[in-house]
């Protein structure tokens, strides 16, 4: 793919940013969603507020590149530095409109597993929930970010770390899934293609997904980044630390 339309990860950043509406309170997280938040702030959502689970509240991106949410540039110029329980309490109150979560495995209901997986018969211990379970349980809606690989898309995840759509849910649930291949609408417990990234075909997606998915005969193409969106991303991630890789 040419520089003009960006790498797939750049596409994912743009798609993530588009999930944020102006004025919303966003549980941000790191990597692609962090870039998406900054992009949204710089474009269509200037009044969005970002919460980080370490207690940091920001209404604009850090002035320097950060590797973790605790890095000093994420503190300097923050609106507030509170405690973890303060931001989790805001989440539990229902004051957080949208939260971003990633996972190692996903199933059709948007359940995510980040705790333990099986690979060729062996159990692989994954790092764990972090704040994933909390965002999945308590945000008004969630946006999921995944590498689109067959081993990650399973009819049933072996362990539900971050619950998706289930009968007992009281609030929220997965709204959108953004992968390396496309954007999917998960509202109401369905799993529908919303758009495919440029150059990605429906067959490729079905082959990379271990369960049936709904799609129109010829799905829309994910709107590529505008030049100014690309310019923003490349300023924010100059080394391509997060957005480099497969184009």
């Amino acid at each position: 793919m040419t520089v003009a339309t960006g790498t797939r990860r750049e596409l994912m950043v743009v798609a993530a940013g588009r999930e944020i509406r102006d004025g919303e309170v966003v549980f941000v997280g790191m990597r692609l969603p962090l870039l998406g938040f900054g992009l949204a702030k710089a474009t269509h959502a200037p009044h969005a507020v970002g919460l980080f689970e370490n207690g940091v509240i920001r209404d604009r991106p850090a002035e320097d590149f950060i590797y973790t949410m605790g890095d000093p540039p994420n503190i300097a110029g923050a609106i507030a530095c509170l405690g973890l329980l303060d931001v989790m309490s805001l989440l539990q109150q229902g004051r957080v409109d949208v939260g971003f979560i990633g996972g190692a495995e996903i199933d059709p209901l948007g359940n995510l597993n980040t705790t333990r997986a099986e690979a060729d018969g062996r159990v692989v211990r994954l790092p764990g929930s972090g704040g994933g379970q909390d965002i999945a349980s308590l945000a008004r809606r969630t946006v999921l970010i995944m590498e689109h690989e067959p081993r990650r898309f399973r009819p049933h995840v072996s362990y539900v770390t971050s619950p998706g759509h289930w009968p007992g849910r009281r609030r929220g649930g997965p709204a959108t899934l953004i992968t390396t291949l496309g954007v999917f609408d998960l509202r109401g417990g369905r799993f529908r293609v919303e758009s495919l990234h440029p150059g990605v075909g429906l067959d490729e997606v079905r082959a990379a997904t271990g369960f049936p998915i709904e799609a129109e005969a010829s799905p829309r193409t994910t709107k590529p980044p505008t030049p100014s969106e690309l310019a923003y991303i490349r300023r924010a991630d100059p080394q391509g630390f997060w957005t480099g890789g497969p184009s």
Partner: protein, 305 residues
């Protein structure tokens, strides 16, 4: 309240025992008391239970060194690299020894510490409903809402034997000023039976008293205060040290194998006598690149009566 200043070696020797449960790294990726962590390894502590929200490399090192028997945490790994190989070997293969894990989310481990900090047996929450983490969990049970609402989950109190916190500054009585992101630092100090403060500077009590709102840990909760500048490196300490990114990546590479981990352990922990020696090993150029020289001071706040 008495003078609580101690050397790192003394504080760890006297206050951290085999079999203890220890909360550390409570501010998540910043202010991780690596100086204390490595002294614990040097002193050969065993059978520790490690308590924290996410742990960025510190728990992985303690596990790889064989100091830990159990982990109570929401996430164990290497934030820059992903998986923690020491953690994985412990859980998957029992190397160097079997490792039990009590899985949590950041919120539930925080509530467990907060319950202890409040002197309560539990705190209720809505998080975790529908998750496999809370299924058959030793510390999480259903609880009814006595006001007739839908059922919730109760997170049982978690009281660490010791909490170790790296602060920017403290006075000799242990009254500690912290700033930047706090994570679960305050809850961990209130919850613990014993608290160790390592800090960039031990300052005159007048400095602390000039801003009582910055004293998030009062000294009467503190058992030892250790002056340990750079004691959080390679993690950051707001206003003092930047994050040293390279050691996280090199440790991640080296610790992929047991041999690599042992080489790292020998070079950076067992082979160096102290935090001071470990920092000297980094060299002056590296340290000056990491040290924060710029000053962006908090706006004046007047406490005059």
């Amino acid at each position: 309240m008495g003078d609580k200043r101690r050397l790192m070696r003394e504080a760890i020797a006297d206050l951290v025992h085999d079999g203890d449960s220890i909360a550390l790294g409570l501010a998540l990726e910043s202010g991780i008391p690596f100086g204390a962590v490595h002294e614990i390894i040097r002193q050969g502590r065993r059978d520790l239970t490690l308590i924290g929200p996410i742990s960025d490399m510190a728990f992985d090192q303690l596990i790889g060194a064989g100091s830990a028997r159990r982990v109570i945490a929401a996430w164990v790994g290497n934030v820059a690299g992903g998986s923690g190989y020491g953690f994985r070997r412990g859980v998957e293969q029992g190397i160097p020894r079997a490792l039990e894990v009590e899985d949590h989310s950041n919120f539930t481990v925080g509530l467990a510490l907060k319950a202890a900090a409040m002197g309560l047996p539990f705190l209720p929450t809505l998080t975790g409903l529908g998750s496999d983490i809370v299924r058959d969990h030793p510390r999480i049970r259903p609880v009814d809402d006595p006001f007739g609402g839908p059922p919730l989950l109760a997170v049982g109190a978690l009281t660490p034997d010791v909490t170790i916190v790296h602060a920017q500054r403290a006075d000799p009585q242990g009254n500690a000023h912290l700033w930047g992101n706090l994570g679960l630092t305050v809850e961990g100090a209130y919850a613990a039976k014993r608290t160790i403060i390592t800090c960039e500077e031990i300052v005159d009590e007048a400095v602390i008293r000039s801003d009582p709102n910055r004293t998030v840990i009062p000294g009467f909760l503190v058992d030892a205060v250790v002056e340990a500048p750079g004691g959080a490196l390679p993690s950051s300490c707001q206003g003092y040290w930047r994050r040293d990114f390279e050691p996280f990546l090199s440790y991640h590479r080296q610790s992929r194998t047991v041999e690599g981990f042992q080489a790292w352990l020998q070079e950076w922990v067992l082979g160096v006598p102290s935090l001071t020696a470990a920092l000297a090993k980094l060299g002056p150029d590296r340290l000056s690149r990491l040290r924060v020289e710029e000053r962006r001071l908090a706006a004046a706040a007047n406490f005059a009566p």
